[in-house]
């Protein structure tokens, strides 16, 4: 239960970080909050030769809210982003991420890069159609849309030598409500299944669009576009979900859950959209 030996690098700025990452290539791993990586090291599920610790990169400890949305830097921790109160859905999701003490260290961008298929934040990025800014030495940074960023369970589009420097969560349109519903074995655990919903009303207060992102029921967050037909949430989610069974829950139970949670999340989001419009 101790990390295997590695070389610890503590760069002072992004440029230096990218150089070290380029040299380390596939032998390097970025350490931000460490709330997923250090357990993996302790349990010897990961054994990088080089750990590139970005905790001194205060330039990445940023939460910038603008009319277009919120951009969260790679060192902004969950607790700080939640306190900033800059995005309703991000706030709803962060309350479900582990426990307060873990949220004091874990980072939003780290959670995206970790790409756990049961984690909340990848679903938020996916349902909003956000993106992750990826940097590498000697090249211009690229913005990877959420739909391309999550490539499999614990797998992202990040390539060796790259650093996720920030994530962008687009702002909600007017008359929009959001909700996050999940079921976990214990409060703070990864969800057995979960659904976040974004519902937007038109000028006549009819549902114009509804989108879901489901977690725990496939290798990556499952985005379901319901159009105006938000009442079909449960069936639409169940049709497209491909959950696996494990020691915590059977595939059939997860499939049942995702339908129930989809309906709940869509209803709740619709209600908050009406409150926002009123």
């Amino acid at each position: 239960m101790k990390p295997p030996p590695f070389v610890h690098h503590a760069p002072r700025d992004v440029g230096e970080t990218l150089e070290i990452l380029a040299e380390a290539g596939p032998r390097g791993k970025v350490l931000a909050g460490g709330q997923s990586l250090i357990p993996m090291l302790n349990m010897r599920l990961a054994a990088p030769e080089h750990v590139i610790d970005i905790n001194r990169l205060t330039e990445l400890d940023t939460v910038e809210a603008g009319p277009g949305g919120v951009t969260v830097g790679a060192l902004a921790r969950h607790a700080r982003v939640a306190r900033a109160g800059v995005h309703p859905l991000l706030g709803q999701a962060l309350r479900l991420v582990a426990h307060p003490v873990i949220r004091n260290r874990g980072t939003v961008v780290g959670s995206l890069a970790h790409a756990d298929p049961a984690a909340e934040l990848p679903a938020v990025l996916a349902v909003l159609g956000g993106s992750v800014r990826v940097a590498r030495a000697g090249a211009a940074p690229r913005d990877v849309p959420a739909a391309e960023f999550f490539t499999g369970p614990m797998e992202s589009a990040l390539r060796p030598g790259e650093l996720a420097v920030s994530a962008h969560f687009p702002a909600l349109p007017p008359r929009t409500g959001t909700a996050f519903a999940e079921v976990s074995r214990r409060h703070g655990d990864y969800a057995l299944a979960g659904v976040c919903a974004v519902v937007t009303l038109d000028g006549d207060l009819r549902v114009a669009s509804a989108r879901l992102a489901c977690i725990g029921v496939g290798p990556v967050p499952l985005v379901v576009d319901l159009g105006a037909d938000w009442k079909s949430a449960a069936d639409a989610a169940r049709e497209r979900a491909e959950p696996d069974g494990d020691v915590h829950a059977s595939a059939a139970y997860r499939l049942h859950l995702v339908g129930v949670l989809a309906r709940k999340a869509a209803e709740r989001a619709e209600r908050t959209a009406r409150e926002a419009a009123a």
Binding site: M1, K2, H8, L31, Q35, I38, N42
Partner: protein
């Protein structure tokens, strides 16, 4: 780049309970092990070593964090408060006294983590609701008490702090 196993140790300084302490540690040294093994502060307990149990919780610049999920080198130069640093010159802290008074510990293994967590919780919410207490201690496991007396102790500590301020 050198191979991981050949890495040279790092000289770090941690301000632990107000005292600057130096240590020579490999990159992989967990903060929990640095406190216990390198600095001899065995009050911080190590339970699960993957962030679930909360026994190893310490305060990093006043904020509760898992010392088993933090590398010692990462927090070079920072302020750490362990359970050994909670008592003041006048004796046990209000949180410690409340835990004793309310019988909020039995075997005591989880207690250092609870004391650090609750100390920070009451700083943020001086008069917490039941819900805030439950949420605040939700990341700490106790296998003896059933939590009722711990919840009582948190409220009692809030009273003691209010009386004494």
């Amino acid at each position: 780049m050198t191979d991981g196993r050949a890495a040279s140790p790092h000289e770090i300084t941690l301000v632990v309970n107000g005292v600057a302490r130096r240590a020579r540690v490999p990159g992989r040294r967990l903060l929990s092990d640095c406190l216990r093994h390198d600095l001899g502060l065995t009050g911080t307990h190590v339970g699960c070593e993957h962030g679930v149990c909360g026994c190893c919780t310490v305060l990093l610049d006043g904020e509760p964090v898992r010392s088993c999920l933090t590398l010692a080198v990462t927090v070079d130069g920072r302020d750490i408060t362990t359970v050994e640093g909670l008592a003041g010159p006048g004796g046990l802290s209000p949180v410690q006294r409340a835990f004793a008074e309310c019988h909020a510990l039995q075997c005591g293994f989880c207690t250092p983590g609870f004391l650090c967590t609750v100390t920070a919780l009451l700083r943020e919410h001086p008069t917490p609701t039941d819900e805030q207490v439950t949420e605040g201690i939700s990341g700490n496991l106790c296998r003896c008490t059933g939590y009722r007396n711990i919840v009582k102790a948190v409220h009692r500590a809030a009273e003691l702090m209010a009386e004494e301020s």
